[in-house]
């Protein structure tokens, strides 16, 4: 457990968009996928997952459809919409800029000042 990191505020939506952009997923699948693609490093608080999904659906960034799950149960599958894909690109670019800026700032040594 000590290896997992807390989620930064505002990053959950980005991660969900990323997860469903790879393949249509149901809610529990989103949880597993995020854990998997982060190498078990990110733990999603389960209580905030569904409100986030509903919020993204209301904003038309993802779309939902009922389908069959792996074990033949009815489940609600989420896919990313065109608007969602655009948003994901913007957020990824923004995040990368922020991350490299913070990394550069943190890597500064006293000689470079």
């Amino acid at each position: 457990m000590s290896k997992t990191a807390d989620l930064l505020p505002g990053t959950l939506d980005m991660l969900i968009l990323k997860a469903v952009s790879l393949k249509p997923l149901h809610g529990y699948g989103v949880l597993l996928r995020i854990r998997q693609i982060s190498g078990d490093a990110l733990e999603i608080p389960q209580g905030s997952l569904y409100p986030a999904l509903y919020r993204l659906e209301t904003q038309d960034l993802i779309a939902a459809e009922w389908g069959q799950s792996e074990n033949n149960r009815r489940a609600k599958y989420y896919t990313v919409t065109a608007a969602g894909r655009r948003r994901l690109r913007e957020e990824t670019a923004g995040w990368n800029r922020l991350a490299s800026a913070i990394a550069a700032a943190l890597n500064t040594t006293s000689e470079e000042v």
């Binding site: 389960q46 569904y50 509903y54 209301t58």
Partner: protein
């Protein structure tokens, strides 16, 4: 934004599906997680427990999901509405009173508003209707306020008034349509070729009239209204080119008007060219328009009414300078007025409508005050509950929204019922004669009105909620908890508010009552006016003799003689006569007369007099009184005697000291040869020609029928039987003489007299109805307020009685309170009644704005009603038993 709204809408419409889907999705999650946990070694029970804990409380997750969907506010609203509905159901008496009050008040307002909307507000059904104007001549100093426009005016102005884009003239009339034996008399309008282009709306099929079709030789064309086309030709598109007989002459149909075409209030079925001869268009005819010929024009874009008026004035001045009659017309105050077509058409009814709207708004105000009072009482009763909830953390927003939802629910329910009341009211209004008002036939219950009603209901809900919410928030919590628990007195603010509302209610009712009284008294005085003839047992009907078969006076006289003979032989007929126009028919024309040898006094203008051409025993049939000389007889017409009878007003004006008998006068404004002079052989009593309330001493002249140039006549028959029963016989007699001639407008004279007062009677009736409702509402309100005051002080009364107060002391305390409020309300009411009376001055007849009897009557009614309403609670106060009151809590 729109997308989000659509998604919310989708969710709302599939609300049940949404909830079920959400539950299913979350349960699926828990199940899958449980399975995964079990796979890593946990027992089923342990796994299920951990899965639930990690997801968190199911209901709070669901709530957050709903929030994410924007369903939160809606849910809260729904919950509050349900709560409010439950509370309202718990107090059926209050709820029913409130809803009924609202329904009556909103219904009355909707009814009057529908009249205002259709008559005053909705534009005429033409393109850019605000650019349409009418032009009419006025000779105020001659007593002729309005005299239409003449053909000469039209031909002189056409193309010469730069402010007008287009100018047209038209003449209302009737014509006999159809082939011999199956003729009908229909409303028609004769129009100049540019009439339709001025309005901006012409035939849907076919063409309009051309300039060539304005002479009597070339005018054999007609345009049909849509309704007449459907009735006569069953909407056959090939009706163009067909022939139709109008007054016995064949006309070719050249156009069909679109379905929505309605010129002002005209019922015309047929439009014909307004044909004329060259001499009709000469300067000599400039002032011979008469009220049946009217002018309309369309202002050029950018041109103003004032510019048009200035240009007309300039042209008139130039034209009159060369006119031998110019000096006389100037003396008569001649001017041509340009006025908005719509505004001018409804000008006569406008003050009455606005007055009635003010009346129903007052009613609404009274109703609203009643509701606020009832709601305040209700809120005080719930003060403790509210205080507890606020102490437990209910937010201020919550307190306000709860009140808002409750009152809006109440007003919406009342509003819905009010729509039904409004629909009924509109029917009542039509029955009272509103559809005969100018543009009144446009009145209908439509979506626009329904939306207005519902919007008004919502606004009322918000307005009513304001004082309640204010009071609820202002109440100190601890105080509310204590004062209620002690059963002591309510907050001073609430009490003052309640009493203030009651005073204002009494004042408003008083005002309405006094206003209705003024209208009623004014109607009463109008009805008491003697018309100058005996209206009972008198049947009247109109016959028009087409020019083709009755080309001259002799032919027309032959018909009249024959008809009089035949009618006189009908059983039950006492006497019969004909007249060019019966009094009170609504189109009394005035024309000039010149008294031989009279030199006008300096500054005196020529006068218009009511002029009648009479045959048969007109005077005997009408029951006119003879003041001097003799009446005209049938023999005068037969022998073409140049004699006439004048009325007292006429005689007194020209010969205040001497006798009118033997004097001579000329028809028209000029003195001509002696051979054309009429000798006055009699003086008759005055007759109210234009209306019972027409006070102007205009003077009237009666000429023998044979000198009449017009073809419209009224037959008047005095009978011993009920007059209407004679109608069929009269029609039959006329058909026997000439099968082409229908008798129209068959009405008893009593009916005409009653109809002439409809514009006074209907508003008076409505105002009376409104004030009865207002007084009733005030009684309910006063009763409610005082009952509450007593109920609230039961304990205090009990204590006082236990300490020795006598019941009559308690009673008189409450009666005194009621009296104090009544006096305050009445004083304010008198002030209001005075203001209302002044605003009503234009529609009152022989009644001053302040009438002591009416004020006293209103005060009496208000006094009796509010005292009765207050006595019951006071009585109850006096009967409070000290033991019970003290033990109760």
């Amino acid at each position: 934004m729109f997308k989000r709204f659509r998604s919310l809408l989708r969710t709302l419409t599939g609300r049940r599906g949404f909830e079920a889907g959400m539950t299913e999705e979350l349960l699926f999650h828990i199940e899958r997680y449980t399975e995964d946990l079990m796979r890593s070694g946990a027992s089923r029970q342990e796994a299920a427990r951990r899965a639930r804990i990690e997801l968190g409380s199911l209901s709070s997750v669901k709530e957050e999901c709903r929030d994410a969907r924007g369903l939160h506010l809606f849910d809260e609203l729904l919950r509050e509405a349900k709560y409010a509905a439950r509370l309202l159901r718990k107090t059926p008496a209050f709820t029913a009173t409130a809803i009924l009050t609202l329904a009556v008040c909103l219904g009355a307002n909707l009814t009057i508003f529908s009249a205002i909307d259709s008559i005053l507000l909705r534009p005429l059904p033409f393109p850019k209707p605000d650019r349409l104007v009418t032009v009419f001549n006025t000779y105020p100093k001659a007593g002729v306020e309005r005299d239409g426009s003449s053909l000469t005016n039209y031909y002189e102005r056409r193309g010469n008034i730069p402010a007008f884009a287009s100018l047209a003239i038209y003449r209302y009339g009737t014509a006999i349509i159809g082939d011999a034996g199956s003729t009908e008399r229909e409303q028609i309008t004769r129009v100049s070729p540019d009439f339709f282009s001025t309005l901006g709306l012409g035939p849907a099929i076919g063409r309009t009239f051309t300039e060539q079709e304005t002479t009597y030789q070339t005018d054999s064309v007609a345009i049909l209204s849509d309704a007449y086309w459907r009735q006569r030709y069953h909407a056959d598109p090939h009706a163009i080119g067909r022939h139709i007989r109008v007054d016995g002459l064949p006309k070719t149909v050249i156009g069909i008007l679109p379905p929505g075409f309605r010129f002002l209030s005209s019922e015309a079925r047929l439009y014909l060219p307004l044909a004329s001869r060259a001499e009709d268009r000469m300067p000599l005819q400039r002032h011979s328009g008469g009220n049946v010929t009217q002018m309309i024009a369309r202002l050029k874009p950018g041109a103003s009414l004032a510019q048009a008026q200035a240009q007309i004035d300039t042209q008139n001045t130039t034209l009159e300078a060369d006119d031998p009659q110019g000096k006389m017309m100037a003396d008569a105050g001649f001017r041509s007025i340009v006025a908005s077509l719509h505004g001018d058409h409804v000008a006569s009814i406008r003050p009455t409508l606005l007055l009635l709207q003010a009346g129903v708004l007052t009613l609404l105000l009274i109703g609203a005050v009643n509701l606020v009072n009832l709601l305040l009482i209700r809120a005080s009763g719930r003060g403790k509950e509210l205080a507890v909830r606020q102490a437990l953390g209910a937010s201020r927003r919550h307190v306000v929204s709860e009140v808002l939802v409750e009152t809006t629910l109440l007003t919406l329910l009342g509003g819905l019922l009010g729509l039904a009341a409004g629909a009924w009211g509109i029917r009542l209004l039509s029955a009272l004669g509103a559809d005969r008002l100018p543009l009144g036939s446009r009145m209908a219950f439509d979506a626009r009105l329904a939306l207005t009603g519902l919007a008004a209901a919502i606004v009322m809900g918000i307005v009513l909620a304001a004082p309640i919410a204010f009071l609820n928030l202002r109440r100190p919590l601890g105080g509310a908890l204590q004062s209620e628990s002690r059963g002591g007195t309510s907050g001073r603010a609430a009490q003052t508010l309640r009493h203030g509302f009651m005073v204002s209610q009494i004042a408003l009712s008083f005002m309405l009552l006094a206003g209705a009284g003024l209208l009623g008294l004014s109607l009463n005085r109008a009805m008491a006016v003697s018309p100058g003839f005996r209206s009972d047992h008198l049947l009247t009907g109109q016959v028009s003799l087409p020019g083709k078969n009755y080309p001259n006076g002799a032919a027309r006289l032959a018909f009249v003689e024959k008809a009089m003979n035949e009618i006189g032989r009908l059983p039950g007929v006492l006497s019969a006569g004909v007249v060019s126009n019966v009094p009170l028919s609504g189109n009394s024309g005035k024309s000039a007369a010149k008294v031989k040898g009279r030199i006008p006094r300096p500054g005196e203008s020529p006068r218009g007099h009511y002029s009648y051409w009479v045959g048969g025993d007109y005077f005997g049939a009408m029951g006119l009184s003879l003041r001097a000389g003799r009446f005209l007889t049938a023999a005068d017409s037969r022998r073409a005697q140049r004699v006439c009878v004048v009325d007292e007003d006429f005689a007194r004006y020209y010969w205040p000291d001497g006798s009118a008998l033997g004097q001579r006068l000329f028809e028209g404004s000029e003195e001509r040869g002696d051979a054309e002079a009429f000798t006055i052989v009699g003086v008759a009593g005055n007759v109210k020609q234009a209306g019972l309330t027409d006070d102007a001493a205009q003077g009237a002249i009666y000429y023998p029928y044979v000198f009449r140039g017009d073809n419209n006549i009224f037959v008047v028959v005095r009978t011993g039987l009920p007059p209407e029963s004679l109608g069929p016989a009269l029609q039959q007699v006329v058909r026997q003489i000439d099968p082409d001639l229908p008798v129209n407008d068959l009405q008893s004279m009593d009916r005409r007299v009653a109809d002439s007062l409809v514009s006074r009677r209907s508003p008076a009736l409505l105002a009376g109805l409104f004030s009865v409702i207002a007084v009733l509402l005030t009684a309910i309100g006063s009763y409610g307020v005082l009952s509450y005051a007593v109920a609230q002080r039961r304990r205090e009364i009990g204590v006082r009685m236990a300490l020795g107060a006598r019941p009559d002391q308690i009673r008189s305390q409450y009666v005194a309170l009621a009296l104090r409020l009544l006096v305050c309300g009445t004083i304010l009411g008198v002030i209001g009644a005075w203001l209302a009376g002044r605003a009503m001055a234009t529609v009152l007849f022989h009644v001053p704005a302040m009438n002591l009897a009416i004020l006293a009557g209103a005060a009496g009614v208000m006094g009796v009603v509010s005292l009765v309403a207050c006595l019951l609670p006071s009585h109850r106060a006096a009967r409070v038993s000290p033991m019970e009151a003290l033990v109760e809590e």
